[in-house]
Amino acid sequence: MSLALAPQTEADEPGRETAATPLVRLEGVSKVFANGTVALAGLDLVIGRHEFVSLLGPSGCGKSTALRLIAGLGRPTRGRIVGPEGAARGAVGFVFQEPTLMPWATVFDNVWLPLRLQGIGRREAEPRVGEVLAMVGLADFAHAYPRELSGGMKMRVSIARALVTRPSLLLMDEPFAALDEITRLKLNDELLALWRAQSWTVVFVTHSVYESVYLSTRIVVMAPRPGRVVADLPIDAPWPRDEAFRTSTAYNALCRRVSAELHRAMEG
């Protein structure tokens, strides 16, 4: 696990939040599925501590695959992945692209699950589960079953479940894609506030250029067939980011730049 990493990341001169200590490091990672699909080919990616990295790319370019490999779900066909540490002890939170809830369990029990697996009882877990449910605006639905919720509500339960262990690395696979505009913006802000307060590291998969620019300290643009990194853009916009930022010219300029990169990626 020991890593001798040259401080070459200093050269990027990213925003002040971007620290150089690597948390996860993917070296020449390839993933070929049993049916012969080459999902990733030679992916190099270093995620630094306290970064907010967005993976941006067209559908099918291997974003989910990369995220799962980072979480340790599945092995790369070639190459290697270093870190993150303490994954099994709740240090990594994962939000799947689908809600992935247990249909037989109430919202409370679904969110309690990560703590329960660590041996924390219902009583003891109650305040923390209540806290994250309130955070995603579902405090009143603790006793509902997943089938009684809308798609966006299910996704919010899934987000609450990932947050409940207070992970130091949060991996999110298009968590807000199913949400309405208002809720999405609200959760964007809450995620940012949490990230800044808790000194988390976030890897965030998205389709949305606007969302990624608003949230990230760095945007990694990926191209499909085979999946690879085509651009790695630091977003050195000022903090705090709020409504004013959303309407600023700096924001628009960044969006245009990222859009252009995405177009280049899609044209191959």
Binding site: L73, A88, R89, F94, T100, M102, W104, L117, Q118
Partner: protein, 284 residues
């Protein structure tokens, strides 16, 4: 056209008002339809028997069967209890054996590879042909009869539970792995709840089969057997050409089968109605 626009049609009630009576009508029809069929069949049967003056030792009419059922109730009721006991014991053993073996198979692929073929062999061999052997080798007749019924009831529980244990959502399995769940935690919190609807489906089939198995085994055991189960009573009535009593016994067996089916249906609904697609009411 213009007139229709002026005065809104009065005959169209609001949807909310319409839903209630429709649901009630539906429920009423569900109860009434089978009753109408029963009245038609029983009435027709009685009429044919009377008009053609068919002797009761060939085809007794429903009224005669009903009278026989009441008169021989002191004989039939204890026998029914014995048959139900056999079926219940066999079903209990089938649940323990089926779920137990399914768990073993889910623990190790090698156990599955080694044992499952024999479970299939047991399933495809007709119980009527094994029953005589079992009755020879197992001295205690009740045990032998229960064993026969067990053979019939055990497979649906085994195969359904196995399928259920293997059906856990892949992403959920990943989630459990991510949080370092132990095998026991995975089993208890993920695999068993996933398997529950499958198991209950198997239980509904096995419930009826255990009764059939008990009847078949009693038939084969015949006079050598426990001698008092309901199937034996039917057999005995046949020897004595007491056809009305045969029908009465069969009627009782059929009703018992229906009762078992309804019982497990209710159990299944009770356990699943909060979350499983098969049991939740569709609301549209």
């Amino acid at each position: 056209m213009a007139r229709a626009l002026e005065s809104p049609p009065a005959s169209l009630p609001a949807p909310a008002e319409r839903a209630e009576p429709a649901a009630r009508e539906d429920r009423l029809a569900r109860i009434l339809a089978p009753i109408v069929i029963a009245i038609l069949v029983v009435g027709g049967w009685e009429a044919i028997v009377r008009v053609h003056e068919i002797p009761h030792y060939i085809l007794p009419g429903p009224s005669l069967i009903a009278r026989e059922l009441v008169e021989s109730w002191p004989v039939l009721w204890p026998s029914l209890l014995i048959t139900v006991k056999i079926a219940a014991l066999a079903l209990a053993a089938a649940i323990v054996g089926g779920v137990g073996l399914a768990l073993l198979c889910s623990l190790s692929r090698w156990i599955e590879i080694a044992l499952f073929p024999y479970a299939v062999v047991l399933q495809v061999t007709p119980v009527v042909s094994i029953a005589p052997l079992i009755l020879i080798y197992v001295d205690h007749t009740l045990t032998a009869v229960v064993l026969c019924a067990w053979i019939v009831a055990f497979f649906p529980i085994l195969s359904n539970t196995m399928l259920g244990l293997a059906s856990a959502d892949h992403n959920l399995r990943d989630l459990f792995e991510l949080y370092g769940a132990s095998r026991w935690q995975q089993l208890r919190l993920l695999r068993l709840p996933t398997a529950l609807p499958y198991f209950l489906g198997g239980l509904r089939i096995a419930g009826g089969l255990s009764l059939i198995g008990a009847v078949v085994a009693e038939y084969v055991a015949g006079t050598a057997g426990t001698g008092t189960g309901l199937a034996f009573r039917v057999l005995e009535a046949q020897y004595r050409l007491n056809i009305p009593r045969m029908f009465a016994g069969l009627l009782l067996l059929a009703l018992t089968g229906v009762a078992i089916y309804l019982l497990f249906g209710a159990l299944s609904h009770l356990l699943l109605h909060r979350w499983h697609e098969s049991a939740v009411r569709r609301e549209r």
